[in-house]
């Protein structure tokens, strides 16, 4: 079970890395196409934008862990462990309830987009946006698991992760 998990995570990391690499080279191709050919390819931009939202939501669904997220943790690390556990429980429960509740209506909207095709590649927008539904489902499952762990075992002691915010 543990091995399967590691293996899946490695696989997901590989997929996001590959999407980012393809996005990067598509971009280069786009610049090159403008100078080498009389007319730039239209599809490069659309592919990049599609890959960008897929990197974000596939990444957040399957690669990014709880501790990697940007978090305001001044109060969280300032309170006693008992209170901290309650905080963590409320957080996880809120995510499960709110995001879980939004899955059905959101999918309803995404599914409706099958009638709309993207501008140049003519892919149904449903397929482009479907990753958001996958992200919602994966996040709800992930935080349900965290909720169960918090109830059963309490906080993992090794959760002093980095503080995120690489953009700064």
């Amino acid at each position: 079970m543990k091995r399967l998990q590691t293996w899946l995570r490695k696989g997901a990391e590989g997929v996001t890395a590959a999407m980012l690499a393809v996005m990067f080279f598509t971009f280069i191709l786009q610049i090159a196409s403008r100078y080498l050919f009389s007319e730039p390819f239209g599809w490069t931009l659309e592919l990049c934008l599609t890959l960008w939202i897929w990197v974000v939501f596939f990444g957040c669904a399957f690669v990014v862990r709880h501790d990697d997220h940007v978090t305001f943790d001044v109060i969280y690390y300032g309170v006693r462990p008992k209170t901290r556990r309650i905080f963590a429980l409320i957080s996880a429960a809120s995510i499960v309830v709110a995001l879980g509740w939004s899955i059905y209506p959101t999918w309803d909207w995404i599914d409706f987009l099958k009638i709309k095709k993207s501008a140049t590649l003519r892919i149904p927008m449903r397929d482009v946006y479907s990753i958001y539904a996958a992200f919602l489902v994966a996040t709800v499952i992930g935080y349900s698991a965290r909720l169960i762990m918090l109830v059963r075992k309490g906080l993992p002691e090794d959760n002093e992760g980095d503080h995120g915010g690489v953009s700064s």
Binding site: L20, F24, S167
Partner: protein, 431 residues
């Protein structure tokens, strides 16, 4: 204020306050808002997806992250460091100056303060503390302080985010950052010289002048990067977003073929960690988009603007107040959160009061960067603490004096808009 908006704010502050990831706190409170208002809760996902999918300039974010990570992994930073030591290391407080100059050059490549502090910053701290010449806390503090220059000098991820929420041109934003970034470098170097003279820190062995040409040649391809970027953007060769891709490609080329310092395995690790950072930042951006939608439909920014015009507030007083608010928030919140969520509230007010939005954007970003080294939530302090194991308390004690001079520079920039706007105007900005 409507009932739904009050509940939304309450949920947001409560959840973010107890340590729920910011992005999830925003999405949950948006769902609360939509549910109470009786709107379709799918609207949250709709705004996030459409916003991310339609913002072409956001593509610069993952690309600059890749570029910064490649530069840190290759030996590009080592070469820059040797070049800077040869040039400014001979003066009193030499390694402190090296630190600032390295940040100035490196920031012309990476656009990320954290990348600067964790990469080249770590190397310099090791050199400064070797032999006990500089106290560890001082070395860490000046590294943190000089890393804040990173996102002021182009390219800059925070400025890309500001351009997104304010509809300003990224090109002019980048140009607006150059002089303020240099100014910050000057005040930090002055402070460093004063402190090192007072403490009697001994001089470094100067690098013989005849070695300088060789070191320059070795560092030259890396030094060329800022020039390539600026030429690309302002020469009309690439858009700022495409310049990010060119920066990544150039650093990849340098690290892999020219300096031969990049293994395939390292490249893979760079891609994985860049994708991870892009995903977390992307989710916060998505959250900010839905929150901005709610704030706009509640007409909050315009009400704020009308109220300020109503009390006849002086633009300078307004900017100084904003500085105070942002410095306070910067000590608590992440820079991208402030830029994406808080700044849009003030933008209509700036318009009404006749404040230039490029000027406002640059001082807001400077503000956020000072926030990165202000306790209790100073990410740069944490990063340096994590990569060097220098105790946080020691770093913080030495940081205050640099925070003070940076705030001095900030006030100067606030009062004299021409320092920010001179360069953009040279390139045709009509503000």
């Amino acid at each position: 204020m409507t009932m739904q908006f009050a509940l939304c704010l309450l949920a947001l502050l409560f959840l973010a306050g107890i340590g729920t990831p910011i992005a999830f706190s925003i999405i949950i409170s948006a769902i609360v808002y939509l549910a109470v208002a009786g709107q379709d809760i799918a609207l949250a996902g709709e705004q996030i997806m459409a916003g991310l999918y339609e913002s072409f300039i956001l593509l610069a974010v993952p690309l600059f992250i890749v570029a910064a990570n490649i530069m840190n992994a290759g030996t590009i930073s080592d070469r820059l460091l040797n070049f800077c030591i040869a040039c400014v290391g001979r003066f009193r407080g030499g390694m402190g100056h090296v630190n600032v100059v390295c940040s100035l050059i490196f920031s012309g490549m990476s656009g990320s303060a954290v990348a600067d502090a964790a990469g080249i910053g770590k190397l310099i701290i090791e050199m400064m503390t070797k032999g006990g010449r500089y106290p560890a806390g001082y070395a860490a503090a000046i590294t943190a302080a000089s890393a804040t220059i990173g996102p002021i000098i182009p390219p800059s991820i925070p400025m890309v985010l500001y351009a997104l929420v304010s509809n300003q041109s990224i090109g002019y934003m980048f140009l607006g950052g150059i002089v303020p970034g240099l100014l910050m470098g000057v005040v930090l170097m002055t402070m460093n010289a004063i402190i090192c003279t007072r403490r009697g820190i001994e001089l470094e062995e100067p690098v013989p002048i005849k070695l300088i040409p060789g070191l320059t040649v070795k560092a030259f391809p890396a030094l060329l990067m800022p020039a390539i970027l600026l030429y690309g953007i302002y020469g009309g060769v690439t858009t700022p977003t495409e310049a990010a891709a060119v920066a990544a490609l150039y650093s990849l080329f340098l690290a892999a073929f020219f300096y031969r310092a990049l293994k395939l395995k390292t490249l893979y690790e760079i891609l994985v960690s860049s994708a991870k950072s892009s995903a977390t930042v992307g989710l916060v951006i998505g959250g900010a988009l839905i929150l901005n939608y709610i704030v706009a439909s509640e007409n909050i920014p315009n009400q704020l603007a009308a109220a300020l015009v109503g009390i006849d507030m002086d633009p300078v007083v307004f900017l100084l107040c904003i500085n105070l608010v942002l410095l306070f928030l910067g000590a608590l919140l992440d820079a991208s959160t402030i830029i994406l969520v808080i700044l849009p509230l003030f933008i209509p007010a700036c318009r009404e009061l006749g404040i230039d939005l490029v000027h406002f954007g640059v001082i807001a970003v400077v503000n956020c960067m000072i926030g990165l080294i202000t306790p209790p939530y100073g990410i740069l302090l944490f990063v340096i603490n994590a990569v060097t194991n220098i105790p946080l308390g020691e770093i913080i004690r030495e940081t205050w004096v640099f925070i003070a001079v940076l705030i001095g520079a900030l006030i100067f920039l606030t009062l004299v808009p021409d320092v920010v706007l001179w360069l953009p105007r040279m390139f045709g900005y009509l503000g």
